[in-house]
């Protein structure tokens, strides 16, 4: 495996307990993502897309296997180190936006920078720049309940990229958006990927998203059944 890869996963498994039942969400996943890639994890519900994203985002721990994110082996890291990895290296865009309701768009965007300890001036400048980039320069002082779903997801994108992460993970980012807003959001993320070489890793079963991806990884029953990159390599 190369040191320059953003994600290196080998033989990842994840088993959940649901009551007395054991559910195998991932059954030995190998995945590599290079810097600047725009990858979609596709597959039906329950195929393991969100589980894989959660593991890569250090939000959860694998049952077995090896996982390296931005050169850091997650297996050896404690709770605080994992938190710092998420803060410094990974940006998150959630299906339900997950903005803090008590904060304005600008404050939500500043959140990760604040957790990192950036100065107030730096946070203000960066948040203004990011919100302008996602087309919300005039709505910075609005709270989430004063924004539409699409606008909230744009704030979530601004928050995810404000701290210049190596990798942005997006779990079904267009699921709650109408098609026009979803297209606009995809345009925005494609643009950020192209201009700033930010690596994006999505989970989605939205065909519009899959059609825009440079690489599509299909999962079924916790296994990768096809990888666009491998297909391209094979071609």
């Amino acid at each position: 495996m190369s040191d320059s890869l953003v994600v290196e996963a080998s033989q990842l498994t994840k088993t959940y307990k649901q009551g007395k039942l054991e559910v195998q969400a991932l059954r030995g996943v190998d995945l590599s993502v290079a810097p600047g890639e725009f990858v979609v994890l596709a597959g039906p519900s329950g195929s393991g897309k969100t589980t894989l994203l959660n593991l890569i985002g250090a939000l959860d721990q694998p049952t077995s296997g090896r996982l390296v994110v931005d050169g850091k082996n997650l297996e050896t890291m404690n709770r605080a180190e994992l938190a710092r990895l998420r803060r410094d290296r990974v940006g998150f865009i959630f299906q339900a936006y997950n903005l803090l309701p008590v904060l304005t768009a600008r404050e939500n965007t500043e959140l990760v920078l604040m957790l990192r300890g950036s100065s107030v001036a730096e946070r203000h400048a960066k948040a203004a720049q990011m919100l302008s980039a996602v087309g919300l320069g005039t709505m910075m002082d609005r709270r989430p309940n004063e924004l539409s779903g699409g606008q909230q997801q744009r704030v979530a994108v601004a928050r995810a990229i404000a701290a210049a992460p190596s990798l942005v993970l997006a779990d079904e980012p267009t699921a709650n958006l109408d098609s026009k807003t979803a297209d606009a959001l995809l345009d925005l993320m494609s643009d950020l990927n192209a201009k700033h070489r930010i690596t994006f890793l999505f989970s989605s079963h939205d065909q519009r998203v899959i059609a825009r991806a440079k690489r599509v990884v299909y999962l079924e029953d916790g296994r990768i059944v096809s990888d666009g990159q491998e297909m391209r390599r094979g071609a």
Partner: protein
């Protein structure tokens, strides 16, 4: 920014914040008012006890407390008084006394009493028994002192004793005592100069006050006294003044005691009451701690999803703990501030207007055998205000510790999926 989030969270849950605020404010205010009243009551108890034939500090002849007879006297009270003089202005007044047991007789009635000989001019400055404030008939010893030769020396007796003897001001009574170094009883005739009602049953029923010189003459005590009582400018200094005086006298034939040791039953009564106050304090503290713990835990659980988001975005556990603690600190500052203002205002009112116990409960209050004044005045020490406010504030923050820790341990994905 964490502080801003904390403040907005408090404002977001207005009703809960208000309930918490009211709980802490009223707990602290009540605590301060009750502490002030209790301390005021204790001061009144101590003051009454001290002024009822005792003193803040008392110098006894060695052995007198175990065997309170005229076999133990201080025969050079002037030497004691000159040592005391060096402690002024901490010592406000000094009263030498000769006290002995005896019988008072009037007609066919004879009753065992304590006969206390005091200086007619000095004694009222230290003891209420011979002061004009408690007289219900006649005058003080001082007012009766300048009598013509051949007239009987004066005596003050308690109201209940006067009733038992069936005597009034101007009547004659006889005191029967055993003089020092004598096995024979001696009789002395006195005229009732005044009748007092102190409210202390034992004093009003079994007490006779006579001039010191008359007591010394009747008992053949010479210049001897059985105690020298000191009234201090500051009652709280009793222990230190007693220690200083004992060191200055450096004598083995006398013992110097603060009132707490000279009247241990009174001190115990106050200590027991203070103990009750501490129980009340603990109850208040538990109410505050449990209230805060419950409310903040609920608040944290309701925001599980938001804490999950914060943790997912990279908040370290200590930052989540800080966020919850900031909420508690903000709540603590506000509620303790208002509670202090309310409590101090209540105390100020009760310190100036007092609480009329008799009017409220229809009867006077007794403690340690002492009838307390009908009106209680609050007396709250600054140290107790700081201590109470500090403990309540500390409990508010401490009550947030578990919810804060709990929030910091959320697993981000589970927390974000929390409904």
């Amino acid at each position: 920014m964490l502080l801003r989030i904390a403040l907005r969270n408090l404002l977001r849950q207005r009703r809960r914040t208000l309930i918490l605020l009211i709980t802490v404010v009223f707990s602290l205010a009540l605590l301060l008012v009750f502490t002030g009243l209790a301390d005021g009551g204790h001061q009144a108890m101590a003051d009454i006890g001290v002024r009822m034939g005792l003193g803040h500090v008392v110098v006894y002849p060695a052995g007198y407390r175990a065997d309170p007879t005229l076999e133990h006297t201080i025969d050079d009270p002037a030497a004691i008084e000159s040592a005391i003089a060096k402690l002024r202005p901490a010592v406000a007044h000094v009263a030498p006394r000769l006290r002995t047991d005896g019988l008072v007789q009037a007609g066919a009635t004879s009753i065992g009493v304590t006969i206390s000989g005091g200086d007619p001019a000095l004694e009222p400055l230290v003891s209420h028994i011979s002061s004009p404030s408690v007289l219900v008939q006649g005058g003080t010893l001082a007012s009766c002192a300048n009598r013509d030769a051949g007239e009987l020396p004066p005596a003050l007796i308690g109201q209940e004793l006067a009733k038992s003897l069936g005597v009034h001001v101007g009547d004659r009574i006889a005191l029967n005592v055993k003089p020092r170094h004598s096995k024979e009883m001696r009789l002395g005739a006195f005229e009732v100069c005044g009748v007092f009602a102190t409210g202390v049953r034992d004093v009003d029923t079994f007490w006779v006050e006579i001039p010191l010189v008359e007591a010394q003459r009747l008992t053949d005590a010479g210049q001897g006294v059985t105690m020298v009582a000191l009234l201090l400018a500051n009652a709280d200094a009793a222990g230190s003044v007693a220690t200083q005086l004992a060191a200055s006298l450096h004598r083995t034939d006398v013992e110097v005691l603060p009132w707490q040791q000279a009247a241990p039953e009174l001190y115990s009564a106050i200590a027991v009451d203070e103990g009750g106050m501490y129980v009340f304090m603990v109850i208040i503290f538990v109410v505050v701690a449990v209230g805060i713990l419950n409310a903040l835990l609920m608040s944290v659980l309701e925001r599980t999803r938001e804490f999950g988001v914060l943790l997912a975005l990279g908040a370290e556990p200590r930052q989540v703990i800080k966020l919850v603690l900031y909420e508690a600190i903000a709540l603590g500052i506000l509620s303790v501030g208002i509670g202090l203002a309310l409590g101090l205002a209540g105390n100020h009112y009760l310190a100036t207007h007092g609480l009329d116990y008799k009017e409220l409960f229809g009867d006077s209050l007794q403690a340690g055998g002492i009838l307390l004044p009908d009106k209680f005045y609050s007396a709250l020490a600054t140290g107790k205000v700081i201590w109470s406010a500090g403990v309540v504030f500390g409990l508010v923050v401490l009550g947030a510790a578990y919810p804060a820790f709990h929030a910091s341990r959320f697993q981000p994905t589970k927390a974000m999926n929390h409904v």
